[in-house]
């Protein structure tokens, strides 16, 4: 008997849970659609808000795309610094090999490759632009060279890099040390700064977007004051009143994010030929990377979240003032 009533009660609870879920879905569906209708009824307002959101979001977005592209250029150097160590005099192959072995023992050094002056001259002779000039020389003007590669982690650590350079330069055989990749270290450090600035910019713009959405929602609320008051007189909960405005914020934010991604793609298309031309002057086949699907999604999600946040702030502050009805 108890089991039977228990089962009945369970079934009733289940049914009411289904009914609740259905009415929840219905309420949200209706609010989502009514928000869309409301936005469509004011095409000028909606379009300008979405455009402002899109332009604001496109700014940091372009920054991240540029940073990502720079990062991929820097990444090509497999993140190790190289030092060109020029050896004076004519030490001979054995002494040169010993010197290279010694350098490999320095902490932070990953490898040392010898480039004999004969080999360097032969390579130069093969180059058309120098080939004609070289026979004019009496003797090989090039020094022997050891190319020292550091461990990857040393690239951006200028102190350790300097320590390695000093140890190499202290050898009497060494006539000069040139840090080939010092600019990468500087670039990486610069990018770290730019990235921080971008984060700050993104936060600032995010707040701005939320405020813009909040403002348009406030206007919408003012325009629908009567409807809110009447709905509340007939038993509308605050949730019911809030919902369409939250959806309006969400839709505008999502649309703004999507449009921002489109703006960025257009910017990439416009800039791409110039970047390719610049890269080719460095002998690079670098191609500008467009926003990835994840970045598209990110822009839309961030836009939506900011729209929702702006609407939520505006609606909740309004409803607090609205608890007393006229």
């Amino acid at each position: 008997m108890n089991a039977v009533t228990g089962a009945r009660r369970g079934a009733r609870r289940k049914r009411s849970a289904v009914a609740l879920a259905r009415s929840w879905l219905r309420a949200h569906g209706a609010a989502a659609v009514s928000a869309l209708r409301q936005l469509r009824r004011q095409p000028v307002n909606t379009t300008s808000t979405v455009t402002v959101i899109a332009l604001a979001l496109a700014l940091p977005f372009v920054g991240y795309i540029a940073l990502g592209n720079l990062g991929s250029i820097v990444g090509d150097w497999d993140r190790a610094a190289t030092l060109s160590v020029f050896v004076g005099g004519d030490p001979g192959p054995d002494a040169l090999a010993r010197l290279a072995d010694d350098m490999q023992l320095i902490p932070g050094v990953g490898g040392a490759d010898i480039v004999r002056k004969d080999a360097a001259l032969a390579e130069l002779a093969a180059d058309e632009s120098f080939g004609n000039v070289l026979p004019l020389l009496d003797e090989n003007p090039l020094p022997d060279l050891i190319v020292v590669r550091t461990d990857a982690a040393v690239l951006t650590d200028s102190q350790e890099l300097e320590a390695i350079r000093a140890r190499i330069a202290s050898r009497p055989e060494v006539s000069a040390v040139v840090m080939d990749t010092a600019w990468i270290g500087r670039l990486v450090a610069l990018m770290a700064i730019v990235e921080r600035v971008l984060v700050l910019l993104t936060v600032g713009i995010g707040v701005g977007v939320a405020v813009v959405v909040g403002n348009t929602i406030r206007l919408n609320i003012a325009m629908r004051e009567d409807e809110i008051v009447i709905s509340k007189l007939f038993g509308a909960t605050n949730g019911y009143v809030r919902r369409p405005f939250l959806y309006a914020g969400l839709w505008q934010g999502l649309a703004g994010g999507l449009l921002a991604a489109m703006f960025v793609v257009v910017a990439c298309i416009l800039v791409k030929p110039g970047v390719s031309a610049l890269a080719s002057t460095y002998g690079s086949a670098f191609e500008l990377a467009f926003p990835s699907p994840a970045q598209w999604l990110g822009a839309v999600v961030i836009g939506g979240a900011l729209g929702l946040a702006g609407a939520a702030l505006s609606v909740s502050s309004h409803l607090r003032h609205q608890d007393r009805l006229p």
Binding site: R26, I230, S231, K232, L233, F234, G235, A236, D323
Partner: protein, 227 residues
């Protein structure tokens, strides 16, 4: 159904709108509140609907002390009350159907249920053929009937009407009054605030007269005494 116990209401910086009013309206009763404008009729309705809170005294509606109804519970409390206003308070950009459907939509009923009940309510007030119209396209009397349909569509226990015939000619007023009578007959408690003496004289109902925030006459006893 409604109990006022020594209720006073004073608006900020103003004189008292209600002074120490005590009265009781039983479930299923039909009551007129009368008096000049400013006598406190509307204030009583607003206090019952919890649009206002009393400055002093207690109000009990359907066994609940209204002071103990939280902001969260308020919407559910209001769903038991149907309200009718002199200025109709319809949404001009929504169809008659959507206006009447509002209390059901707000309460989360299914579309099928809403459509059934709205049509029934519109049929009752004789406006079924105008469900697709917008309120501004209707006459004042028709708009008031839409307001009545909206007030009763959720089958409330209590119907509050503030000057429901204020702008209507006598024939239309009688028509509106007949509708209220029908709801009263199916057990709804009806409270009508009006200064329309002609209206009151048509129905031998209890009349509570107010002046300057005081109850000056209550025909309750007289009616009971009638053979």
């Amino acid at each position: 159904m409604i109990l006022f116990d020594a209720v006073s209401k004073r608006y900020d910086g103003d004189q008292d709108a209600l002074r120490d009013v005590s009265m009781e309206v039983a479930a299923g009763e039909f009551v007129f509140l009368t008096g000049h404008s400013g006598a406190g009729k509307s204030t009583i309705l607003r206090l019952i609907a919890l649009i206002e809170h009393p400055s002093r005294g207690q109000i009990v509606v359907d066994g609940r002390n209204t002071a103990r109804i939280s902001a969260r519970e308020l919407p559910y409390y209001r769903r038991q009350i149907g309200m009718i206003f002199q200025d109709h308070r319809l949404l001009p950009d929504r169809t008659v159907f959507d206006n009447v459907a509002l209390p059901l939509v707000v309460a989360g009923h299914s579309p099928l249920e809403i459509s059934k009940r709205v049509r029934a309510a519109l049929d009752k007030v004789g406006l079924l053929s105008k469900e697709r119209r917008l309120p501004p396209a209707l006459s004042s009397g028709e708009q008031q009937r839409v307001g009545i349909a909206r007030a009763v569509v959720n089958r409330p226990k209590l119907l509050l009407a503030d000057e429901p015939t204020g702008n209507l000619d006598p024939a239309l007023s009688r028509e509106i009054l007949r509708l209220f009578g029908q709801f009263h007959q199916v057990g709804v408690t009806v409270v009508i605030a009006t200064h329309d003496i002609g209206l009151i004289n048509q129905v031998p109902a209890r009349t509570i007269a107010l002046r300057d925030g005081n109850v000056v006459r209550d025909t309750h006893a007289t009616l009971e005494a009638l053979p």
